[in-house]
Subunit: 413 residues, 2 copies
């Protein structure tokens, strides 16, 4: 763990409203870290719906395989998350460890093994000592409900420099329903640390297929629109739980995407997901600047996103931003390499409000001084108009600093 908090960390945390139907407990299992919590147990009410999206890696971790196979069942009672060991690339030992983990939790809570979801984050390639969970599971059981949202977010941190929480409340049927989420660190972080994890809960009752559709729809614009170093973890996991506790106060279950309340739910969920994903970027290794790359005027949305990612992943663009250099030549280069339709002579590029290039040339009115002022900011909007169509997309990234190389190039401890 870094001892220096990211300069882009939030200055305060939101008050997280109570969310009925979920309880947290944390413990120190000593998986890898000393003197801090490294296990989170979340228990959810019977009848809770669950949806998930996972890494697209062809070499996923054992817990990702486990969760994927459990999603089909549609039922869930508990979620166990550990930090310090990702249980990734651990072969048959990895599957044995997830099985043992689920057994330990199921036994203690008297629920079905199939209803225990699992996530792990930390070192790759080391066997996960799942037997350590048996030492702490009784304590986790008896202290259910004692851990706060911030406690939960802290227990799942690896090299994160701050815990990440977000919340939204909306009115459904004249009652307030809540969506609370936690997340941990982006990128394949410091030596061997993997994984972007996020767990989001709502007390609304939402049918599993509707829940999955909402989560899948909101992922491309949030968690799949951020990049720290273009690397994809073996363990990325987002789970969304709907406890349904709000039905007790008279909120009708949502059972169809045609429900008129879907729009407001979708917006609130999207806001929470976007908030958490931005917090992840702001905690990118060595990050000093938070950058929105906005591409407009593309042939279509997919093309816009591909170009935006090419810009956001370019080491040359990211080092230029670290150097506070409005280096639009590198942006042109990145547009060109994306392989998507682009016409050099229609391109226009802005840093903040400053148009630096237009119609294939440096903007004649371009002021180096004004652009430099923009580049000094902590948050920067880099906007590209391709002038070809209506496609638009945003992605979010951070700069590439010497600290990134130092963090990732230090010898594995």
């Amino acid at each position: 763990m870094s001892t220096t908090v990211s300069p882009l960390a939030p200055t305060s945390y939101p008050d997280m409203p109570e969310l009925k139907g979920v309880k947290f407990a944390t413990a120190e299992a000593g998986i890898k870290y000393e003197g801090r919590t490294d296990v989170l147990l979340a228990t959810v009410a019977e009848g809770t719906s669950v949806a998930g999206v996972f890494t697209r890696s062809k070499c996923p971790s054992a817990p990702v395989d486990w969760c994927r196979s459990r999603l089909a069942g549609g039922t869930v009672r508990a979620l166990l998350v550990n930090s310090g060991n990702a249980n990734a690339f651990t072969g048959r030992k990895g599957m044995a460890a997830v099985k043992l983990s689920a057994e330990i939790v199921a036994g203690a809570l008297d629920v079905a093994e199939e209803d225990v979801f699992l996530a792990s984050t930390g070192v790759i390639g080391e066997p996960l000592p799942a037997e350590k969970f048996s030492v702490v599971v009784e304590g986790l059981k008896t202290s259910q409900g004692k851990a706060t949202w911030l406690d939960a977010a802290s227990a799942i941190m690896t090299t994160d420099t701050y815990p990440k929480v977000a919340t939204a409340s909306v009115d459904l049927d004249g009652k307030t329903i809540v969506i609370n989420g936690i997340a941990k660190g982006a990128g394949m972080i410091a030596p061997d640390m993997a994984t972007m994890l996020s767990f989001i809960f709502t007390d609304a009752a939402i049918a599993p297929d509707v829940l999955q559709a909402l989560l899948s729809d909101e992922t491309p614009g949030s968690f799949n629109a951020i990049t720290v170093d273009s690397d994809t973890s073996t363990s990325d996991t987002v789970l969304l739980f709907a406890t349904g506790a709000a039905t007790d106060s008279g909120v009708d279950p949502v059972t169809s995407l045609d429900d008129p309340r879907i729009g407001i739910l979708r917006t609130a969920l999207g806001d929470v997901m976007l908030d958490l994903s931005h917090q992840i970027v702001k905690d990118g290794e060595g990050a000093r600047k938070f950058v929105e790359v906005r591409v407009e005027g593309a042939k279509n949305e997919a093309s816009a996103k591909k170009i935006a990612l090419a810009i956001a992943n370019s080491p040359l663009v990211k080092t230029a931003i670290a150097g506070e250099d409005a280096n639009w030549g590198r942006v042109v280069m990145a547009v060109g390499k994306a392989g998507e339709p682009a016409d050099r002579d229609r391109l226009a590029i802005w840093f903040g409000d400053i148009r630096v290039a237009v119609e294939g040339e440096r903007d004649p009115d371009y002021s180096e001084e004004a652009a430099s002022e923009v580049m000094k900011c902590e948050e920067i909007l880099l906007r590209v108009d391709l002038g070809l169509g209506e496609g638009a997309a945003s992605v979010w990234t951070c700069d590439l600093t010497k600290e990134y190389v130092a963090i990732n190039g230090d010898y594995r401890s």
Copy 2:
């Protein structure tokens, strides 16, 4: 230009044999640099064939557009290359500058404007002051043949820390024919400097379509199999010239790919291209280690190359190599993110001769000490066996160091 020569620079240069039918001259036009040559004029014999491969960027530079359109004609008499300004993203001014450049050279040499090929490398987005060529063109004309291959390679350098030359000689029809090449720097180099350029010459007589086929065939395994920072220049250009001067000593022209001499020619050309492309990687910004990423056992060759590039372009793999860390977990991550068929539990990974992972787990015989010895070397082979098929491919890259960030993050001068 850097004042520190890459630690991976060659310790000596080959003797470059005379190659009839091509003459070099260099000059100081003061495009951007002071006190060094920045223009190369190569003149070639009448009847010389020419072939080319260019950047796949959708935003190519004006000289790339020019060369592409000239290739169709199939004739060439001169090549003008300048360093210091890439004439890229310069709009209509860019096309005017290439036209003026060709006019100046054509007028001085009394050749057709269409027979003048052009390449530019350096700053992006600044208009190229092509009129400066008119000041030096008479001197270039009268000094034709005075510049050596090393002089030629030096005149086209931007942030390269050493000139790049390579040569091969082979027997055709009992006579020696020569292939000589020069190249300049990889990657989108120091602030705003673009372009990988290479110019290769042979005195063999080779028909244009055969020449193009040979060049196109040998490019994927050489210039298109290297990566410094995954970024693609707007200006990448490789031109291959066959002067045909060897026909004077009795070497019959090569007019078909079925010619029995094609094999030996192809091998020699491939060797020169691979040599030059490796030199480019070894001069990557901040490079301290030269890495071959070899992927075997893939479904097919294309899949192997895609996975190899995913590994070679991963900032996390590259920083680990900079830190001399045999971090195979990051290699697994990069294999997984490539999106190609891969089975976690069949993967094996070697650094040098040390197998660090096998069948989806850390190799039980893995010695951290032995792996550390491998990682201390200047040249490292990183080998992955997917265990799925017969597809194999190699790509070459360098490590990602703090110097890379420093070079590319300094404020644009």
